[in-house]
């Protein structure tokens, strides 16, 4: 039998000298207040934004969306902000930086190009995505919200795990298994994403003994039973389930969206 092997690889050479590059930050889940730009900026901190953009020399957009909503609701909000920004500023080369659930939100956009007319133009301009601690296969910490459903919780645990809202439901291991099978691309056995995702998984818990958040994450890691290495919220296996491993970091889930421990912003800036 005639064997016909045809490798179809589309080689795109980025002509960065002519491209206008910009960077987009997409935060993770949280409260409704994350829809407020100043709250979304505080989520990342000024130092993270400064470091990543090389002292604000790279045009940037900090997306802000209601952190309690499903990925498709967040995706539409984020897409609207990116579309308007890239159009207004003639940005045609976008590096996307995501933290936590933000990595799932950008996967929703890249996995469903026909869902919204703004998605494909955005996808076409994305160079790649750097995804910090994304719960690509869900988070056992989000599962905890189901186990504790109906229970009275202390504020810190609600802050960490999230109320049993839509975003938390989206992040459970069961939900992500479902979405990975039907709506999201990029996991093993599914079609590839149209652009490359570089993942950064955290494996540290005790970063900074001066911050009670570290104790909270270490406690959460123990309660939720995150398997293998984890950053207190997302296990390494889940973060690395999509894309290419760029590096791992000792920074925990609180610190790996900041530039204050292991200087992740400095690493992101090497893209420019």
């Amino acid at each position: 039998m005639k064997r016909c092997t045809l490798a179809v690889v589309l080689l795109l050479i980025a002509i960065t000298a002519e491209a206008k590059t910009g960077v987009v930050f997409i935060h993770g889940k949280g409260g409704t207040s994350l829809a407020t730009p100043s709250v979304a900026r505080a989520y990342w901190t000024d130092d993270m934004i400064r470091a990543t953009t090389k002292g604000y020399t790279i045009p940037y957009l900090i997306c802000s969306y209601d952190g309690t909503q499903y990925m498709w609701v967040a995706g539409n909000t984020v897409a609207g902000q990116i579309y308007n920004w890239m159009t207004a500023n003639a940005i045609d080369d976008i590096v996307v930086e995501t933290h936590s659930f933000g990595g799932v939100v950008i996967r929703w956009i890249m996995s469903n190009p026909t869902y919204d007319s703004r998605y494909q133009p955005i996808i076409s301009r994305i160079r790649w995505v750097n995804s910090i601690a994304p719960p690509n296969k869900g988070s056992e910490a989000a599962d905890l919200a189901g186990t504790l459903s109906g229970s009275w919780l202390t504020g810190w645990l609600i802050d960490l795990v999230g109320q049993k809202n839509n975003a938390t439901t989206n992040c459970t291991t069961s939900s992500m298994a479902y979405y990975n099978q039907y709506y999201l691309k990029g996991t093993s056995g599914r079609p590839a994403l149209p652009k490359t995702v570089y993942n950064i998984a955290g494996y540290g818990l005790w970063n900074d003994f001066a911050h009670s958040e570290d104790y909270g994450l270490a406690t959460l890691s123990g309660i939720a039973g995150l398997p293998g290495e984890d950053d207190g919220m997302v296990a390494q296996y889940s973060a690395q389930a999509v894309g290419v491993v760029w590096f791992t970091t000792e920074a925990n889930h609180h610190h790996n969206r900041h530039n204050d421990y292991r200087k992740i912003g400095d690493s992101l800036a090497t893209d420019f």
């Binding site: 016909c4 045809l6 179809v8 690889v9 080689l11 050479i13 980025a14 499903y70 498709w72 190009p113 026909t114 160079r127 790649w128 296969k137 056992e140 599962d143 905890l144 189901g146 186990t147 504790l148 459903s149 109906g150 229970s151 009275w152 919780l153 202390t154 504020g155 810190w156 645990l157 049993k164 439901t169 459970t172 291991t173 069961s174 939900s175 298994a177 479902y178 099978q181 039907y182 709506y183 093993s188 056995g189 599914r190 079609p191 590839a192 149209p194 652009k195 490359t196 570089y198 009670s212 104790y215 909270g216 406690t219 890691s221 123990g222 309660i223 939720a224 039973g225 290419v244 893209d271």
Partner: protein, 338 residues
Amino acid sequence: MKRILCTLLFAAPIFGQTATGRFAPGESYVAPERNAPPATSRMFVRTSDGQGVDLPATGQGGMIVVIGDRGQSSPRLRTPAGDSSSRSIRRFAVDADGHNALHIDQTIAGRYHVSDVGAGATVIAAEPDSQLTMTTTVGPLSRMPGDRITLQATLRDGDDALIGARVFAHLTAPDGTEGKSIALADKGTGVYEAIVDELPARTSGFWSVRYDADGVNAHGVEFARSGSNQFMNERASAHLGGIHSRIVGDHLHVTASADVIESGRYRFDVIVASSRDANGERRGLAWGEAEQSLGNGASELSIDIPLSGVRAEDLFLDVRLLNLDSMGMAGRQTLGAD
């Protein structure tokens, strides 16, 4: 290095509301998992009745205790030896508001007791080092109307199956409505199971299943475990059937019929894979997605997927109809080589 990898893109052209593409060379096709991914628990939850809460410890390593109390109580923890000021119990502030978690470095097998907590307070205890685990699942993960639900928990203490435990499940609907307690039958192998013929409500969306187990291990040591899974209760929004395919030029033309009960936005997804190889695996070959608005009643669906070099023999098709207005799968069928 990143730039080189970035340039290796797989074509995914957009034709109106249709997207098609190819799998990465060598990528396997993986069929959807039937059940929710197994969740392993080493923790349990108790609710205070105002008289304090007993916390059974296995003595297998440390224990973390978290108390969620609406009041401003100062909970006290007493060891099985009756000591409430043990040096092995440490308090950690876990947030800026001064909430505490208690850490016990090495538990004594037996009952710890938390006192001075208000009625209704939630007490969470975890034994992260323990080999006594409860692993739970629920299936099907995608539950179509009429499907029975299987609830399953497996209790193990290292290599030993734990039998004779009491295991209960509670179903919670997406709207928060809680169902009655369901007892799981002991299968005698460490596996506990219950079959649910009908859900207490038709609410579509992700339902939660919370499992609570308690019993004693082979050494007579008391234990408790809690865990949870979820499953999607699909809405009966449409039926998918009549899948046909044929090669037209260098395209695979796939058609299907949909009987739509709820009009709206849908997506016709087709994944093309190879026949099984000697290891029983299929290679992913190509995929296509066609989105359209469907009215009530019968609709014909079709999509053309470029084969571009793919050997058009013994193809396997995984065909889905996805609801895009209210996320969920309306139907799935497979066709072709086994």
